[in-house]
């Protein structure tokens, strides 16, 4: 082995060891690295009332109730991960992206009568869709944003704004490129 | 509600940084080239001629 080869193997060995160490550490701490807990985790093992947790999930359609206590708006909504649902109470202004069917992360504490949030963060998904296309998909009944993620991009990403305008003007005809949901 | 300030701030930040890096690199290149030319002026040989085979 030349000195260069020896150095190369030395570097490879060091990087491999370091990578393994990092992987093991991440594995060990993975429950602390997650940003939020899901409603079913909270239901299975309720955190103590003095501990701040981040609860993440989807806002259940039709569960949002908003009222005004003096100046501050107070909202109640259910957050679900498909298996369990937790009612969240929040005093304050919700983020712009908040809507039924949206993923949110609520920061707060778990009480007997539900989750009291001090902060609500909106989480958006990785789908990027022009407004007109979304409108057209909703009009044609192919997708309701309150009940789930949008259909796969292949079904609509050839759809242009003009096509979308046409569909919007004439909601009976199906969107040209959109296949069944 | 409009988010225009956030958008403009992002693009402005990027443009400012790109301009700063470009100006910095250009000035360094200019200075280095001028100094090298000054140092090598007495020689009629092209730069690096003594080291290349």
């Amino acid at each position: 082995m030349t000195r260069k080869t020896r150095r190369l193997w030395l570097v490879i060995a060091c990087v491999t060891c370091l990578g393994a160490a990092a992987a093991l550490m991440l594995q060990a701490f993975s429950s602390d690295i997650v940003f939020f807990v899901t409603p079913s985790q909270v239901e299975a093992k309720p955190p103590p009332a003095d501990r701040t947790v981040r609860l993440g999930g989807m806002v259940v359609a039709g569960s949002v109730k908003q009222e005004k206590q003096g100046e501050t708006p107070v909202s109640r909504f259910d957050v679900t991960d498909g298996q369990a649902a937790v009612t969240v109470r929040f005093e304050g202004i919700l983020p712009d992206l908040f809507r039924e069917g949206q993923s949110v992360v609520a920061v707060g504490t778990m009480h007997k009568d539900g989750f009291v949030a001090s902060e609500v963060l909106a989480k958006h998904d990785e789908t990027y869709m022009p407004k007109e296309v979304a409108e057209a998909l909703k009009k044609s009944g192919k997708w309701d944003p309150r009940f789930g993620p949008p259909p796969s991009a292949e079904s609509w990403n050839t759809m242009t704004a003009q096509d979308a305008q046409k569909t919007k003007a004439n909601p009976d005809s199906p969107a040209p490129a959109a296949t069944k949901p | 509600m409009t988010h225009l300030p956030y958008i403009l701030a992002s693009y402005g930040l990027f443009a400012g940084l790109a301009i700063a890096l470009t100006v910095n690199a250009t000035l360094r290149l200019k200075t280095a080239r001028a100094r090298l030319a000054l140092l090598e002026r007495p020689s009629s040989r092209p730069p690096g001629a003594s080291s290349s085979p």
Binding site: K4, L8, F35, P95, L121, H124, E126 | L13
Partner: protein, 257 residues
Amino acid sequence: MTASPSLVARTGSLFHRYANPGRFLRLAARLQPWLTGLALLFTFAGLGWGLFFAPADWQQGDSVRIMYVHVPTAILASSGYAALALCGLLSLVWRHPLADLAAVEIGPVGACITAVCLATGSLWGKPMWGTWWVWDARLTSVLVLFFLYLGHIALIRAFDDPQRGYRAAAILALAGAVDLPIIKFSVQWWNTLHQPDSITLTGAPTMSSSMLWPLGLSMLGISLGFAAIVIARLRAAVMESRVRSLLSNPRRRGDAA
């Protein structure tokens, strides 16, 4: 292992072809106008398209336009560090002189790009998520990358003997490369506030093609711009080192005269 020495030697000789500073300067000087011109063209086209002509997103509205700056800088932050790690490997194993100079020059540019990525992410997060910053796995691992860049910049300049600085920084660059897969897969391994990647190698992009095109253009343009700036700085660095050696070794200058 019988094949490896020849492979190592061949790889070394391939890279050493461009270790000759004169050859590098000639090649880089020829490459520079093309890199700069194409970078300007694609960046202006991509960002202009993104800012003025691309459609607004159905849920994020116009804020989605921050993506055309944020995503290319995020990708470059990672690939810039990968380049730094490659320079570290070339430096440690093959003692490549140009790799050390390149590592000195890539560091600050990469750190700036990472700072822009973090700042634009923050500017995007505030109107969309409702917060400037959260300590989720993706954001934290990119912040770690930023500190790795800063550490590299400091370390490579920390010693009186530049060779020792090069060696130490190369080790840091290689060790820090562990952060790159963590950044990439953080959104899949753990739940995060940051959304998963829209563009993956395995699946179709979950993005309208009317947004994908300007994004691709600005990605190409900004990457070329990164390369153009690094090449320009590297050319300056090679010339500066030649100036230094001419100044510290006046005999050679006398010879030449």
